[in-house]
């Protein structure tokens, strides 16, 4: 059996990749995808813990997270569209009119 640490490290790496993406990517669509990546890292954690403790709550949580993530992306994409409509760009580097 594969030890739990492997799953956790996998999830952590996934999470880190997502976080890195959020930090460096200027394209906000990509950033949203990176966030999805991070969420899924957490989901993997849940599943793994759930599997190793034979507790069903973790899986419930995962389903909730997936639906929340879906809603979030939906709203997010809508917001990006709105931004594109008003500002003609969705690049994070260009959306800096409010600062200081």
């Amino acid at each position: 059996m594969i030890p739990i640490e492997v799953y956790l490290v996998f999830a952590a790496v996934l999470f880190a990749i997502g976080a890195y993406g959020v930090m460096v990517k200027s394209n906000t669509i990509v950033v949203l995808m990176c966030i999805e990546l991070m969420l899924n890292a957490a989901n993997i954690n849940f599943i793994v813990f759930s599997a190793f403790t034979t507790d069903v709550l973790g899986q419930v949580f995962v389903i909730m997270t997936i639906s929340v993530a879906a809603a979030e992306v939906a709203v997010g994409i809508a917001i990006l569209l709105n931004a594109y409509k008003l500002k003609n760009t969705t690049e994070a580097d260009s959306l800096t009119s409010m600062r200081w």
């Binding site: 959020v22 930090m23 460096v24 990517k25 994070a92 580097d93 800096t96 600062r99 200081w100």
Partner: protein, 680 residues
């Protein structure tokens, strides 16, 4: 029956002050008659009080009448208010109120042209008199101090009477304002010392009442060092008030005020307060020979220095001012020398020495009384001259004798008296002063100092005669100057009558020493306590023998006559040009004298550096360092806000980076915390 009403003595002039102050505008002569009434009333009631006191049983024992009520208390120390009448107080009351009355009468004429300002003048002089009379009858140091300061205030106000809208223009206003300030500040320096002395006494004796402080047993039980400190501090107050060395500089400047004010300050009030205080504190000072030695030395030095400064001054009032300083020095010399002997006598239990010391006391007081009259006379006379000529410079006078006979003759009497011409008032007291000074030289380890002082005093007597007659000759004899040509004759009656009255006293008052003055104004130990009065003086013949059988008397008289002669040939006959002796005013000595030995410049420098110089530094520290820190702090906060807001770049990637970095940092902090705090 009168003594119980002693409080009226200062109160009536006080009421005059209030009434004139508020309603003087509508009164004739700006309230002058009311002021005269107040002074006269004070004189009358003090005469009655004195008569009653000297005939009462209290005079022989305990030698004083006192009554007081508690005013308020400082912790467990009661501050009282009341009166204290003894021979000294009677003497002070009498001559102060009498001379003030005459000066006030004189002022009616002298201040005739001042218009509405007269209200202020008469109000302030009434307050001045209140101060002096209150001082004389106070029953404790603090009450005395109140009046003492009231006089300081009045001197400030009156010296600065013309400190704005001076009839002679703006420069004179400036001068008067500056002189007034100087007078107040210098005397304030002394007052501050006096206050320190009062703290010492209050702490050591638990009270400031004369009866408590001058109690022999109390004084013996107090730490002698503290007693000496207290005495010296009190004498510090005297130095300021009576303009003794080294605080003598304000008095000549104070001539900026009206001449009548100078007369008041020099004759009746203010500077006499210092002499009074030393006489009053005689029992206290006499606990330490060193203190009395100090008093004597200060007096002797002042007498000499002030006389030198008068030698070449051209301002008639300033000559008189220096002469006042010099004569005050004599008084302190007498008191110091007498006190020195008394202190030694108290230490050794030698009653003859104590009696010899009492002579010094008598001499000081007699000279004070004499001086009051002849100095009032001289100032009023000079006022009359100034009134007539419109100048104070003696070079512009001259030859006035023919135009102002009364003034001239009365001033001659005054000059003879102050010079110590035989049988005039000044002669008697000055001779006794010199005798006491020399006598003190025979005793104690530091006694030789009094011999030195005696020599200085003899020289001073010579100089006194010289500069007084220099003044008289320059003014009334010789060629008429620029100002003298303006003179239209004698001053009005209100001015000449006081002069005549004063000249009588200036000529003859001194003889009272022959008629038992030293029975009344003396100090001795009766029943273990100090007592003023009730003494056994030398008597008529005693004094005559004392004075006229002494070779030193003739030495002095000879010096005085020589001095008058020299002055005559120099300034009346003009056969010797005074310029020969001083390279026409270019010799170092001449310059030193006319610059008052550079005292004013020294004081100005010290005052400026210690005052304004330090103040500039403080101001710099205040605005730059302290307030600078405050402002720097606030701008640092605001500035860091500015720079910290720059982190907010507006780019969401940076925001995310901050979040992630924040997490990493937080994690590190947590690990550190767990590591250092030894958590689970």
């Amino acid at each position: 029956m009168f003594v119980e009403y002693t409080w009226l003595v200062p109160l009536v002039p006080m009421l005059c002050f209030v009434i004139i102050g508020f309603f003087g505008k509508k009164m004739p002569h700006g309230g002058g008659p009311l002021a005269i009434f107040g002074a006269m009333f004070a004189f009358l009631i003090s005469a009655l009080i004195s008569y009653e006191f000297f005939t009462s049983a209290a005079y022989s024992s305990p030698g004083y009448v006192t009554e007081q009520i508690t005013w308020f208390s400082i912790g467990s120390f009661d501050i009282n208010i009341g009166y204290y009448v003894d021979s000294l107080a009677c003497l002070m009351m009498l001559f102060a109120s009498f001379i003030s009355t005459l000066i006030f009468i004189y002022s009616i004429g002298y201040m005739h042209n001042e218009g509405v300002k007269r209200r202020r003048y008469f109000a302030e002089v009434s307050l001045f008199l209140t101060g002096m009379l209150g001082l004389a009858v106070s029953s404790n140091f603090l009450e005395m101090f109140v009046f003492w300061e009231a006089m300081g205030l009045c001197s400030y106000l009156l010296i600065g009477f013309w400190s704005f809208t001076h009839p002679n223009g703006d420069d004179a206003s400036d001068n008067a304002a500056s002189a007034a300030k100087k007078a107040f500040l210098v005397t304030r320096l002394g007052d501050v010392c006096l206050m320190g002395g009062m703290f010492v006494l209050m702490y050591e004796f638990g009270s400031l009442d004369y009866t408590a402080v001058f109690d022999t047993a109390a004084m013996a039980s107090v730490d002698p060092n503290m007693l000496m400190l207290g005495s010296l501090l009190i004498f510090g107050g005297v130095i300021g008030k009576s303009a003794q060395f080294p605080l003598l500089d304000w008095l000549p400047d104070a001539m900026a005020g009206p001449t009548t004010v100078s007369a008041l300050i020099h004759a009746a009030t203010m500077v006499k307060a210092g002499v009074y205080l030393v006489a009053r504190c005689f029992p206290l000072f006499a606990q330490n020979p060193e203190v009395m030695l100090f008093v004597g030395v200060i007096g002797g030095i002042t007498a000499f220095f002030a006389a030198t400064m008068a030698l070449n001054n051209m301002n008639i009032k300033k000559v008189l001012a220096y002469s006042t300083l010099s004569q005050l020095g004599y008084m302190f010399l007498a008191l110091g020398a007498g006190g020195y002997m008394m202190a030694l006598g108290l230490q050794s239990g030698d009653s003859a020495l104590i009696a010899a010391g009492a002579v010094g006391y008598t001499a000081g007081c007699l000279h004070m009384a004499n001086h009051a009259f002849f100095k009032a006379l001289l100032f009023l006379g000079s006022g009359s001259v100034i009134h007539a000529t419109g100048t104070e410079d003696m070079r512009e006078m001259g030859g006035l004798h023919s135009k102002m006979k009364i003034t001239s003759i009365t001033m001659l009497i005054g000059s003879l008296s102050i010079a110590g011409f035989p049988l005039f008032s000044g002669f008697w007291s000055k001779e006794i002063v010199l005798e006491v000074a020399m006598h003190a030289g025979d005793y104690g380890a530091e006694g030789y100092l009094f011999l030195v002082l005696w020599i200085l005093a003899i020289i001073t007597a010579f100089m006194t005669a010289f500069y007084m007659f220099r003044m008289w000759f320059m003014t009334f004899k010789g060629k008429p100057g620029h100002g003298a040509e303006h003179c239209h004759g004698e001053s009005p009656k209100s001015m000449t009558i006081p002069l005549i009255i004063l000249s009588v006293f200036a000529a003859a008052l001194g003889c009272i020493i022959l008629f038992g003055f030293d029975d009344y104004v003396t100090i001795g130990i009766h029943a273990g306590q100090f007592q003023v009065g009730s003494g056994h003086g030398h008597g008529f013949m005693g004094w005559l023998e004392d004075i006229f059988l002494s070779a030193y008397t003739y030495l002095t008289v000879a010096l005085v006559l020589i001095a008058i002669g020299v002055a005559y040939v120099m300034y009346s006959k003009m056969s010797i040009n005074p310029g020969k002796f001083n390279k026409d005013g270019n010799s170092l000595l001449y310059k030193a004298l006319s610059n008052r030995w550079w005292f004013p410049r020294l004081y100005d420098q010290i005052g400026w550096k210690m005052g304004y110089g330090v103040a500039k530094g403080v101001e710099f520290v205040d605005t730059q360092v302290i307030d600078g820190t405050v402002n720097a702090l606030s701008s640092a906060v605001a500035g860091s806000g500015d720079s910290m807001s720059k982190v907010q770049t507006g780019n969401v990637r940076d925001y995310a980076s901050v979040v992630v970095i924040g997490i990493v940092v937080l994690f590190a902090v947590m690990l550190l915390l767990f590591y250092f705090m030894g958590g689970a």
